[in-house]
Symmetry: C2
Subunit: 160 residues, 2 copies
DNA sequence: GTCTCTGCAAAGGTTTTGCAGTAAC
DNA sequence: GTTACTGCAAAACCTTTGCAGAGAC
């Protein structure tokens, strides 16, 4: 048995846990952070910094663009959101807490979540990390796997 | 047996093969392309567009920076050089023809080549590609695996 | 001769920075 | 009360673009 896909939009952490995670890093649970985490976990979508900025604006949750950028990065470093590369050289974010990766279609911009297979009894990413650590003697971070491809829609359009 | 590391600085292709590869794409074997490929295959190092620009300049091979950028991309698309993400959000290039990946240390900027293991009788990248294609129904490109970590040197420095 | 390429400078787009006021703790 | 954070605008950054002249085929 290899795959274990599950993509529930379950809420990652409650406010208390979030606050605790932030506190441990000397970070505060400010309004922007509440608003951003709230949006991401409710919408369960993939957004860019600017997209998030605009979406929040429409909602009435006004944050400055630089605040959105700053906090998206801070929250990603704290492990509260996931960051990955979108279609136009822009970073995308989601707050899905389950281990997953993304496939991006450069033509349509569409993003699809994927769960990677297990290898040798462990998630592919961990397997890879340990392998590279043995191989190089370096202390390796969680591997980033970035996948691009053509969505069925793009192929149907006859785009080459 | 899984690994098969070998990092010979063997010259990828001779001038004739390069010209042929380019011709097939309607591309010309211009001086900038000769110079860039020559440098990369001789030095067998990882360089950024700007680094390459400066290195060539010192050598007396003057190319404009935009020409370097353009051709690095063109050559990467033609499969004549490999492109990957360096430490500062800049793209790095090498001309090593053998299937390999890179580990980058964000602190020192150091880059180390790695050969990824095989899984189920095929290179990890192919395995992953096929897996994701089955899983999503998308037509997936060659997966990009990007690895970061702390080089022994960085750890020795006591950098946290 | 044709068609791609070069070089220059200027623009592009995303992300970061500096600083004074504000708010979390 | 401290200390981190916000917001604004301006800047920084890598990379791309437009166009006239040059060079590969």
């Amino acid at each position: 048995m290899a795959t274990g896909e599950s993509r529930q939009p379950e809420r990652p952490w409650g406010p208390a846990e979030v606050r605790e995670v932030l506190r441990k890093r000397g970070l505060r649970y400010s309004r922007p952070r509440r608003v951003i985490l709230g949006y991401l976990s409710e919408q369960d979508r993939h957004v860019s910094a600017e997209g998030l900025y605009l979406a929040l604006r429409q909602r009435g949750d006004d944050l400055s663009l630089s605040t959105v950028y700053l906090n998206l990065r801070v929250l990603a470093e704290a492990g509260l959101v996931r960051e990955f590369d979108g279609a136009n050289g822009e970073a995308l974010y989601d707050s899905n807490p389950s281990e997953h990766y993304h496939v991006v279609c450069p033509e349509t911009g569409e993003v699809r979540d994927v769960t990677l297979p297990w290898v040798n009894g462990q998630p592919l990413a961990s397997f890879l990390k340990e392998y590279v650590e043995r191989e190089t003697g370096w202390e390796i971070d969680e591997p980033h796997v970035s996948l691009t491809g053509r969505a069925p829609a793009a192929r149907a359009d006859g785009v080459d």
